[in-house]
């Protein structure tokens, strides 16, 4: 896999996780205040934009690469969620989580390097 394809696969996963998180926030129980509709839109619209970008970048990747070669990058999804919690919620990352991230990265490296 070339560098551009690997970069696009990683960017794809970043958009997917960001979109999922925005939509999750948008679907939280709505407030009753006058600005609740605006708050919903501020979360919903970026969520849809991120997921659309994920989808079209993914289609672009699939036009050139084997599905079995690039699908392994989907494994980054839980790792990125854990890293997001570390940054956004200052959540403690235990050893198990780090080991999981290391395994996922190693797996992706093995698949990316192979034919």
């Amino acid at each position: 896999m070339n560098t551009l394809a690997i970069s696009l696969c990683i960017i794809c996963q970043l958009f997917q996780v960001t979109g999922q998180l925005f939509l999750k926030k948008a679907m939280a129980p709505p407030g009753t205040g006058p600005g609740s509709g605006r708050v919903f839109a501020i979360r919903f619209v970026p969520g849809i934009v991120c997921l659309s970008l994920w989808f079209f970048i993914w289609l672009g990747v699939l036009q050139q690469q084997d599905l079995s070669h690039v699908y392994v990058f989907e494994g980054l999804n839980p790792a990125l969620l854990a890293i997001a919690a570390w940054f956004l919620l200052a959540e403690h990352m235990n050893a198990k989580t780090w080991i999981g991230i290391a395994f996922i990265c190693a797996g992706i490296a093995v698949v990316s390097a192979g034919q």
Partner: protein, 137 residues
Amino acid sequence: MTPTTRPSSPWFLNPYAILTLGAVLAAVAEVLLKKGAATTTTGQQAILGIGALTAWWTWLGIVAYIMNFACWLYVLKRLPVGIAFAIITGAAQVLVPLGAWIALGEKVAPTRWVGIVLVLAGIAFIAQTAARVEESL
């Protein structure tokens, strides 16, 4: 007083059966998207694959993804999210390369399977954390 018994739901509404169906639909969706993308390939790496929307395969893939999402919503109400997340993510990691091999004729080299096994191990380690994070974010 006689205990009341809840009528048991049919086997195909069992959350694990629906979860399995969801994983199969995810694999089917990916194979269909790949077929749609492959029929509209431009010969060089495009950033966005918008052209794939002209292929029927792509739209069938989107339908399969929507069905997969419906399965996921059904399961989330009935199973702990950590277990459901680990099973569906792990199963898709195995089913998608199998689908690509069977339906698309892709050659899945042994090194790819080694990588997939490593990713599966990583998902098993991280699934509980990722599910908890998804709940709290």
